[in-house]
């Protein structure tokens, strides 16, 4: 029987939900996305950089806890009340997350390539160098 599967037969009272839990943590916002969120100025988020609940255009979303009023950006979590959020901000996991986000940019594909003995990407010479300045030689 594989990890996270439900045990069957005798003594199968304990239901293992490892796989479900892992899936849930994976579906949360990834660290590089959050890092980008944190870099943004406060209150300005489109749907790409932060959950829609925090955008300016869609202030309240009925599907979110407390209509998305209480959002912890570093942990990308919604809370039901102000009280719950302040309690969360005292926790170790939150503090650790904040500490991580103060550090360097999280690992990216570019980093992977550099670590794999590759140089910086080569985009070639510019196809259209500044057109606005006319070449004097051509005129004469």
């Amino acid at each position: 029987m594989g990890v996270g599967q439900r045990s069957t037969g005798k003594g199968g009272k304990v239901r293992r939900i490892t796989k479900t839990k892992r899936r849930a943590t994976f579906l949360e916002r990834h660290i590089d996305q959050i890092w980008e969120d944190v870099q943004q100025p406060e209150g300005v988020h489109d749907g790409k950089t932060a959950p829609l609940g925090t955008t300016d255009s869609v202030q309240l979303d009925a599907d979110l806890p407390a209509c998305g009023r209480h959002y912890c950006q570093p942990c990308s979590r919604f809370f039901v009340s102000e009280h719950a959020q302040t309690a969360h901000e005292q926790t170790k996991s939150h503090k650790n997350r904040v500490k991580d986000l103060m550090g360097p940019r999280p690992h990216s594909n570019r980093d992977a390539e550099l670590a794999g003995n590759m140089g910086a990407p080569d985009n070639g010479p510019k196809l259209r160098p500044h057109v606005a300045v006319p070449a004097p030689m051509a005129i004469s």
């Binding site: 892992r22 943590t25 994976f26 990834h30 660290i31 996305q33 790409k48 999280p106 690992h107 594909n109 980093d111 992977a112 390539e113 550099l114 670590a115 794999g116 003995n117 590759m118 140089g119 910086a120 990407p121 080569d122 985009n123 070639g124 010479p125």
Partner: protein, 187 residues
């Protein structure tokens, strides 16, 4: 044809191998094998996993920022085919690989220069700390007062007995004795 690098371990992903994951914000992640994909799904940080290239470079175990790395790049503007250039490139690849190998060897030698001293020092420290494991207490020059260890031993014995009793209690299985069983049968 492109040879990609694995997002997690930075090894080369050849065509037809590995898995590609596209996140809902259109970011592409390539993985060389299921091991790397699983580690990604667990949201592990490649910089903190010791066997990845990223962490080895951070720890100073491999060459970082070397001029030989400029050969292999992600070329977003492909070169036009030219027989001459192709011929030269293949030659250059071999030469550059040689140079890189030499540099890597030199780095390894430099790292290993102090390794023996460090190992001996660590061994000495361990010997001092754990000498009691190989040396009998009677061999020690000054025996500590004898009564205290005796008391400790007694306490340990008592604890052991208690534990044994507990385990016995746990292990007891309710079984009908043969006489009781016979009586019940007769009734």
């Amino acid at each position: 044809m492109r040879l990609e690098k694995c997002w997690f371990c930075s090894s080369t992903v050849y065509p037809g191998h590995g898995i590609t994951f596209v996140r809902n914000d259109a970011t592409i992640f390539k993985f060389c094998r299921s091991k790397c994909h699983k580690n990604f799904k667990m949201k592990r940080n490649p910089r903190k996993v010791k066997w990845t290239k990223a962490s080895r470079k951070l720890a100073g175990k491999e060459l970082v920022k070397d001029a030989t790395f400029d050969m292999e790049r992600r070329r977003n503007r492909p070169e036009k085919y030219d027989r001459e250039v192709m011929h030269k490139t293949v030659k250059a690849m071999q030469k550059i690989d040689e140079i890189r190998q030499k540099r890597a060897d030199r780095l390894w030698e430099k790292r290993m220069a102090n390794a023996k001293q460090q190992q001996t020092a660590a061994d000495k420290r361990q010997l001092e700390r754990e000498i009691h494991l190989i040396k009998a207490p009677s061999m020690e020059p000054e025996a500590v007062s004898e009564q205290e260890p005796m008391q400790e031993e007694k306490v340990v014995q008592q604890q052991d007995e208690k534990l044994a009793q507990k385990q016995k209690k746990k292990l007891r299985i309710p079984v009908e004795r043969p006489r009781q069983k016979l009586q019940r049968m007769q009734e």
